[in-house]
Symmetry: D2
Subunit: 162 residues, 4 copies
């Protein structure tokens, strides 16, 4: 079984037509998994719905506790890209044994339809969580990076090895 934890991020941002601002509603994950015709045994749980710039260490502790507590070794976390590396580092330092934990997200909201990278990223992250050895990883741009070998380039939006 694969556990998916939803934490928000661009991935799940929606457009509020009354205010003209982006906001969070329900996660798009169930619709995306349906559209991907995904037949994996999955459990989806929303832990929070926030912009990753607003994630606190208390939130990260919550994520760690959930990763530790769940009875599976394959965990996928959807997360905003701005602090994805920090959260990956926080989880890695909690030293959870024997689990493959993959963080992914999107640069363009899934709600933006044909221009979003989110659906592609979800496919690759689900594959990585099934096939990589235990550890904490970031999956973006079709690639995977170890938690201590990646940073987001803030001007291009691409994740790069360090």
């Amino acid at each position: 079984m694969i556990q998916i934890f939803v934490t928000g991020g661009t991935f799940d941002k929606e457009y509020n037509f009354v205010t003209g601002k982006l906001f969070f509603q329900d996660s798009n994950l169930p619709e995306m998994l349906d559209r991907g015709r995904c037949t994996l045994d999955l459990n989806v749980r929303t832990l929070m719905m926030v912009d990753s710039l607003e994630l606190t260490d208390l939130d990260r502790e919550n994520i760690v506790n959930n990763c530790r507590g769940v009875a599976t070794n394959q965990i996928l976390i959807t997360h905003g890209t701005d602090t994805m590396q920090q959260t990956a580092e926080y989880i890695a330092k909690a030293d959870i044994q024997g689990k493959t934990i993959v963080l992914t997200g999107a640069m363009i909201p899934y709600a933006f339809g044909s221009s979003s990278d989110g659906f592609f990223n979800l496919g690759s992250a689900l594959a990585f969580v099934q096939s990589l050895p235990p550890g904490v990883y970031v999956a973006m741009n079709g690639r995977y990076f170890s938690w201590d070998g990646v940073k987001k380039n803030r001007s291009t939006g691409y994740f790069e090895p360090v």
Copy 2:
């Protein structure tokens, strides 16, 4: 470097508005990789553009020769779903050593926009080709299957273990 071989299939079907029929034009792969913000070192080559029901053993021999000839160990093949298992078997029996070969496709053409599974499948297949040990695999429905452990259920369109 990852080699992508395009062979056609539903993945790349387009709508011809003059005839009202589906047909093949150029592959959607480059646009999809761009949209996925993919930064992998990739080479894309179209070997053929056919419905997989029309694939002959001569075509399969061509695919095998290309897999053998290319100087990389990571190969992704986009393929129609109807005979994806047969082509995987044909390649496996050619006994190419040391290469991870992943076949993927789509149940709904990428050109159909928001209902297509193709973009998700591409993401997962690219991830599997980077992380699975040498062998021949089918990547569909978010999962991977060994070439000798899968069949397509023709009434539901899902790939199932055998």
Copy 3:
């Protein structure tokens, strides 16, 4: 009140992933009107769901009877493009008095998402049916044509004045 009669055509074609063929299911009209945030007083009724090349004069007589029988003077008909002009002519010759009847359709199925002209055509046809004087019209390519002043160019797919 505006009456919409659905007759099928490319507008409403869907992709059957089991057979790989295009087919008709339910009309996309309700979803399209919702997405267009349309607040017009509308009634939608499906008369048939066929490719317009298969429309018989019996079907056209059925359409005429429905146009005559309905208690409104504004009627929109969604229709395949191949024989849209013939059906317009058939209706015109039935000489229904005092009604504005507009036929529209699509060159690319609405199910194809971002490449379809259907949503644009629906918007223009709904506007024309509210604002044109009684008569029978074809609304395609952002324009309206009197039933006896239009033909479809079969090689380009555009409607042209004659």
Copy 4:
């Protein structure tokens, strides 16, 4: 010939993946007209690219001058919805004779793909500008409203007659 003046608004908002904010880039009009397979004789000119809450009377005077100066009687203006009625009123009070001027916009950006009302609104506004008598109108929700007979309901986002 139909003149289209672009002024910005939600219609043309794009997502900036570096800042995570909505912004204006080039207008989507040319792509939309192409997708709508529109064969009307059109001229598109961008007058400004602003959120309509930021439109000043100087901007509105600029719009009026352009409406007056252009050598056609059919003018379509794309505009933010928040002050669409105010701009329509401003134009109406300038008392331009013999011209049909239609303002339209969108509640959801065209860049959001399948959930946007923009493409539908463009189709209906183009049809109204061809078929309504001289005057100043707002075209939204599939309907047209005289400039002095409409207001936007800010909690629902629908335009309503007054």
